[in-house]
Amino acid sequence: MAVINLNVNGKKQTVDVDPKTPVLWVLREHLNLVGTKYGCGIAQCGACTIHLDGVAVRSCQVPVSVIGEKAITTIEGLSENGDHPVQQAWLEHDVPQCGYCQAGQIMQAASLLNQKPDPSDDEIESAMNGNLCRCGTYVRIKAAIKTAATAKS
């Protein structure tokens, strides 16, 4: 066990855990931020996507010990009132079915738009290809990202 300081959604947090614990489980079980989901544990589904300094990463693959000073953002901290352009676009297109993968999809999409404010179809497809949606909402996900891109620009 080790005491580790984290910056999560703009707040300082301290946890006492096995340093090898993936950030996913620290968020879910030690910090009670359950919006980030476990789907596969091997970085193949994207349900656990969070931001480290604004860049999408799979939190199931990142041991909590390597975070250091980097800022963690989870779906709960993406916006104050659920009004990030990507979240708003998701609502406008009524994207979710079961909803389980959507936090990961939204975090991935928000990261894409941070880097490329006006992505092409190919760029959207490539950026989102690591995020599985078993309900098959891909067409709406893509449409929502385009709407969010327009809203941001």
């Binding site: 066990m1 855990v17 096995d18 614990t21 993936p22 489980w25 879910r28 079980e29 030690h30 009670n32 931020l33 359950v34 919006g35 980030t36 989901k37 476990y38 789907g39 596969c40 544990g41 091997i42 193949q44 589904c45 349900a47 989870t74 779906i75 709960e76 659920g82 009004d83 979240q87 708003q88 998701w90 609502l91 009524d94 979710p96 079915q97 079961c98 909803g99 389980y100 993968c101 959507q102 936090a103 939204i106 179809d121 959207i124 497809e125 490539s126 989102m128 290809n129 690591g130 995020n131 599985l132 949606c133 078993r134 309900c135 098959g136 909402t137 891909y138 067409v139 709406r140 996900i141």
Partner: protein, 749 residues
Amino acid sequence: MTIVKTNIDRRAFLKVSALAGGGMMLSFSWLAGCKPAPEEMAALPKEWFELNSYIKIGDNGAITLMSANPEFGSNVKTSMPMILADELDVDWKRVMVEQADFFPERFDRQFTGGSQGIRQGWKPLRTAGATARQMLVNAAAQQWSVPAGEITTEAGMLHHKTSGKKAGYGEVASLAATLPVPEEVALKEIKDFKIIGTSKKNVDGTAIVTGKPMFGVDYKQEGMLIAMIAHPPAFGLKVKSVDDTAARAMPGITDVFIFKTLADDYERNGFDTTTFTELVAVVGNTTWEVMNAKKALKIEWEKSADQNVIVNGWGGKQTVTIPGGLESTESHKLRMAEMSKKKANVLRKDGDPESAFKRAAKTLERTYSAPYLAHNTMEPVNCFAHVTADKAELYGPIQAPELIRNTLAARLGLPKENVHIKLARMGGGFGLRAYGHHMVEAAVISQKVNAPIKMVYTREDDMTYGIYRPTYTATYRAALDKDNNLIAFHVKGGGIPEHAVHAMRFPAGAVDNYLAEGWRLDSNITIGAFRAPGSNFIAGAEQSFLDELAELAGKDPIEFRLELLERAKTKPVGEKNDYDPDRYAGVLKLVKEKSKWTEPQPNVHRGVSAYFCHNSYVAEVIDMEMQNNKPVVHKVYAAVDCGIVINPDAAANMGEGAIVDGIGNAFFGELTFVEGVPQKTNFDKYRMIRQKEAPKSIEVHFVKNEHDPTGLGEPLFPPVFAAVANALYKATGKRHYQQPFLKEGITLG
């Protein structure tokens, strides 16, 4: 105007209403859109008045509607309350939706599956809404001393035209709640619907996009431990012994033990599907610790003998033998090929098929097959359980709580009234969660450790301890006369452990000489419902075959089907045909129009397919393009006749999802076995359709009619497989008979 008997037992809900409420989680329709204006936000009332199990009205006019069915992504939590709200005649903006617990004394049919939620809920929900509305009208009539028949309602307001009196529902709700339930009420005319048929946003939309806890796996309670199970690595194995020394010594681990999921003499219901009745539990403080300890278990497995289990379900009580032995896909294929040659059960026979085949000008015979599929819901199996001496509380993903409550009561030794199941939002279902073995596992573990626990499966557990879609095969034969008329049709289907032949469906009824046969083989690999059971294979086989047959007959594939449907309509063969030829033809005509079928585009390769299942009719056209020698699904058109559509945009969303699901499974879906061991354990090997492979656009069109609503979650899925195969043929010149098509060397670009 339709008058219906209300059949609402007021005493039942009054008696139990004290149990309801407290810590309820409300979903606000007005939060699901964009930012609500302050005047749109309903304040919470000081007091709620319950008019029946489904409807509570606040003293300020706020409305709470109960969503009784479990939600697994088909959006019943929005669409079913919409039905209530329309008959209740309220403003949707003032509606809050609350997920009901499993409570059979209060709610009808709390089951999500078989595409039956809306179909079966249609009349009860309309009646519940109309009954509550009538009670509010009666209360106003009493207060104003005017005849109830002179009072009209609109958007939560009561009006009496002659006297000019008006009041909000909230003002009369306290009186209405004390009035007798009317024995009969009038339902709205279809033309008067204001909410049904308009698109409403998912009431949980905001909660989903902001990551609020709502799934079973998100649940947490003070003192809760985490549990995981270890199951045999192969179907046909069982636990022999466990060396838990290393696991127990690991940090955070509180217990390791072997436990029985079902008693040996337990009489199973039809959904108590499991081969593994003995598992190893690991219990500890956190998921990460338990996950690591599980890896440190040293378990010895041994071969399982044949197991005889009593199953009281599926229409009778019988002893079922789960065979021992380690099964492999390769040996399955050999056994299935052998069975295909043998005599099978005749399911339907019209005319004299064999003599028709003898006199045919042309014949065609093709064999289709498909593998086992894993459901792979994004949320792995999990369940919270807290079992004490006198009661059990469960919270988790489950489509069929009623069935599993009986199993839980029997296994825990509790009266079923003391087994409480709360319905979590499910991270996907697709049939998997009709089976509740995970709830029993969680409950038994909680009982043993005498603590609240949350049991979670790893993805690997979820994929390798599945209730899979069976593996199927079917051989189709058809005979054409010299004028290319279909004179005989023969389907012989089989599978492990069931066949997928629906003998009364099209083209039965459209051919004078028709034969349907089925056979099955036993297995210890557990199978169960998977989005459109049976249909999800047979539609692809049948509709691929009809495409090839149309080509042999020199006919357009849509015209060929329409000719057969015309025959089934004007001169049907047999009496038990289970489809309406007009509605079937209707979706083909609609998809023909919407896809501009008669105006082919250069370099666009099109496949068509149509199917009837779950009381609904669907036709689909897939437009495929070849890019770098790989097929790309450019566009999909679907035409759907499912009667009245409650929530059109949400319905289209589910249709789009079913199409994506079908394309993915047609190309990639497959689980194989070697010596009982599932050969894929996670998404690195089990290929699922991804964003790049999804269609570039999908149009879902609904036939507009006034039929009562029928199924929607499943019917768009089965025809996809053939639309893909038929488009692929146009694109590549090669027919595909074996799913997944990836295996035949073809993949999506």
